[in-house]
């Protein structure tokens, strides 16, 4: 479904650009870059829901560390972006704060923040995609759900051996005008189509950050999740490591676990 819908969009835009007398960048690889992205998404679809926990370690250039802990609940939404509920446990001053996000394939996401001291739910602006998540080297757009439609101009770059793993390298361009990046290079492993590495190029098209995935484990005999994600900022020397644990798939979450009532009682 997703594949068909997307291919027709691509064809329409190709026809459009041909009519305008230019050649779409996405097409000079014969559509191979987009095919790889779609295949990666297809292999990860159908999971229904999952919960997980995460510890985030922030390091400055002197090696000083600080940590954050969050819990995550995700519900897959057919034909649209996922719903996620993120509960903050550490640092302690933000404990009880929770963020509900409805990601959309097209258009901006909907986000509500729960502020426990006031018992207040506040709908928040969604133009802060490029800003740091909890003071880390991960921007909001790096940790939000990565639907194929969030990027355009997919381009197959090369096949590359990444530390012994054969990979496809694909370039993609964020659609959102508030993105902090001009483009990203993504390394997919050729067997399972898992993301192994991402290079982020800033608004001046200079390499800014590299994200590396490690410790992939398979759940439900199908879905791959990395235990560790390392983001290094080449411009500041800072880095952030995410350590994931307790992945639990098919826990029976429903839309009711992703409404404002559940946001208020998320702990």
């Amino acid at each position: 479904m997703i594949y068909k819908r997307f291919m027709s969009t691509v064809m329409a835009s190709t026809l459009g650009s041909l009519a305008a007398g230019s050649v779409a960048v996405a097409q000079d690889d014969g559509g191979r870059g987009l095919e790889i992205a779609i295949e990666a998404e297809r292999r990860d679809s159908g999971f229904g829901d999952f919960t997980s926990e995460m510890t985030m370690v922030l390091r400055n250039r002197h090696g000083e560390e600080s940590t954050r802990e969050i819990r995550n609940r995700t519900l897959e939404v057919l034909d649209d972006g996922d719903k996620t509920l993120v509960i903050f446990d550490r640092p302690r001053d933000v404990q009880g704060t929770a963020l509900l996000s409805f990601s959309h394939r097209i258009g901006s996401d909907d986000q509500w923040l729960y502020l426990p001291a006031l018992r207040r739910v506040k709908r928040i602006a969604s133009n802060n995609k490029a800003g740091p998540f909890m003071g880390s080297e991960f921007a909001y757009e790096d940790i939000s759900s990565q639907e194929v439609e969030k990027y355009s101009d997919y381009r197959f770059v090369s096949e590359e051996d990444l530390d012994g793993t054969p990979t496809f390298v694909v370039e993609r361009v964020p659609v959102d005008e508030n993105s902090g990046y001009t483009r990203q290079l993504v390394w997919f492993d050729q067997v399972e189509y898992r993301v192994m590495k991402v290079d982020f190029y800033d608004r001046r098209n200079v390499l800014m950050k590299t994200l590396s995935y490690a410790g992939y484990q398979q759940y439900e005999g199908r879905y791959w999740r990395a235990d560790q994600m390392d983001m290094v900022n080449h411009q500041t020397g800072k880095s952030t490591t995410l350590m994931w644990r307790n992945f639990d798939f098919g826990t029976g979450l429903s839309d009711r676990d992703f409404d404002q009532n559940s946001l208020r009682r998320a702990r």
């Binding site: 302690r92 909907d110 018992r119 928040i124 602006a125 802060n128 490029a130 740091p132 009532n261 009682r265």
Partner: protein, 402 residues
């Protein structure tokens, strides 16, 4: 006294909740926040007994326990403050002592709870369920736990909540020795009610809320004891004048709306209240605009402006009856979550203004330090802020989280 009575109100739901605790997977957590705050006043006091500085310590703890596959939970949240200057500010409250049951299409919550309604920042107009713990902060954001039975029905067209409120809590006020008080003291021992049932009057409320695309909407109705007292001058035993809080009955219809698009939040709250002296209306509305990564840094700059109107004018029971707020919030998005918040509230008729600047930062992983200053200027004698004209202060607060 009211604290002790509300305690009794809360014991029943707690006992009820404890009886319902089954075996099985349970998640429990105990957290606490200890605060130390001190304020220095730039000007000498207006009244004898007041001082140039004050200090206090506070403790807020929360015990939370969930079980039954997250369907049931209890929350206990006691709060206590010891104030070394104002004995009225030394107080205890149960912010929460409640049991909650989550069904597929509805939720039941019983006990002492805090509930927030509204969208605007500078004034929470339609927010009527909880009484204001005014002695905590003149901004009115601190609330006392309210005894209630609350049911929420979740439907595709929105959430409908019903509130049964069997007991009323009186507002807290500063004592003789406290700064940031009005020139005439409020006598909390002489409280009057319109209803013969006094604090036992049965209040109720209903609220529908929903979101449609970029719009968040709510409509609410409240029938019961007005949380905002009318302060009436009376002669006390010693021949002086004091203010007596008079709690009348009211009916309130409130609406809330917010439109969110990109960096813009457009907000409006309005209400009409039927009170003893007749019907009046009020609204608060404005915008918030966020500039992400301002000047190429990681910081966000949020700009805010709101207009507050109350058709009772100077007779309003809120300090804002025709005021404009301008504010800015700079969130540095750094490891220490550094923040700077500045705003000014100006009376459009030039009767009184407030300037507030506040900065906060985390130290280590468990400490937050906040530095704030508030300046009251240009207040006319009939304005609420006139009583605070000598009370400009700078305050330092240290909070440790456990």
């Amino acid at each position: 006294m009211s604290h002790r009575r509300s305690w009794r109100q809360g014991v029943f739901p707690l006992a009820f909740a404890l009886a319902l605790i089954p075996q099985g997977p349970v998640r429990a957590q105990l957290t606490a926040e200890v605060g130390l705050e001190s304020r220095g006043y730039f000007k000498g006091p207006l009244f004898s007994g007041q001082d140039r500085h004050d200090a206090s310590v506070s403790l807020e703890a929360e015990f939370y326990r969930e079980w039954d596959d997250r369907r049931q939970s209890i929350t206990v949240e006691p709060f206590v403050r010891l104030d070394f200057a104002d004995k009225e500010r030394t107080h205890f409250d149960l912010r929460e002592l409640s049991w909650q049951y989550v069904f597929e299409s509805w939720e039941l919550r019983v006990g002492l709870r805090k509930v927030f309604w509204g969208v605007t920042e500078s004034l929470h107009l339609v927010d009527v369920i909880n009484q204001t713990d005014l002695v905590e902060n003149v901004d009115g954001e601190d609330k006392l736990g309210q005894p209630m039975v609350n049911a929420a029905f979740i439907r595709p067209w929105g959430t409908v909540e019903l509130f049964a409120l069997p007991y009323f809590r009186e507002r807290t006020f500063q004592g003789t020795d406290g700064r940031l008080r009005q020139s005439v003291l409020v006598d909390e021992d002489d409280v009057r009610y319109q209803s013969g049932a006094e604090e036992h009057h049965f209040d109720w409320a209903v609220r529908w809320s929903h979101y449609i695309g970029s719009f968040d909407l709510a409509v609410s109705y409240f029938d019961g004891t007005n949380r905002d007292p009318r302060l009436e001058p009376v002669l006390n035993d010693r021949g002086g004048v004091a203010l007596t809080p008079f709690y009348e009955q009211m009916e309130q219809l409130g609406v809330e709306g917010q439109y969110t698009s990109g960096g813009w939040l457009l907000k409006l709250e309005g209400l009409t209240r039927d009170v003893q002296l007749g019907r009046y209306w009020a609204f608060a509305g404005g915008f918030e605009y966020t500039i992400p990564q301002v000047l190429g840094t990681n910081a966000d700059l949020g700009l805010l402006s709101e207009y507050l109107f109350d058709d009772r004018g100077d007779a309003a029971t809120t300090p804002f009856e025709g005021d404009v707020t301008f504010g800015g919030r700079l969130a540095f998005n750094d490891v220490q979550s550094s923040e700077l918040l500045a705003f000014v509230v100006a009376d459009v008729e030039g009767d009184g203004n407030l300037l507030s600047v506040e900065g906060s930062r985390r130290f280590g992983s468990d400490w937050i330090v906040t530095l704030e200053t508030r300046v009251f200027f240009g207040a006319a004698p009939e304005d609420f802020l006139y009583g605070l004209r000598q009370d400009d202060y700078v305050g330092l607060a240290l909070r440790r989280y456990f």
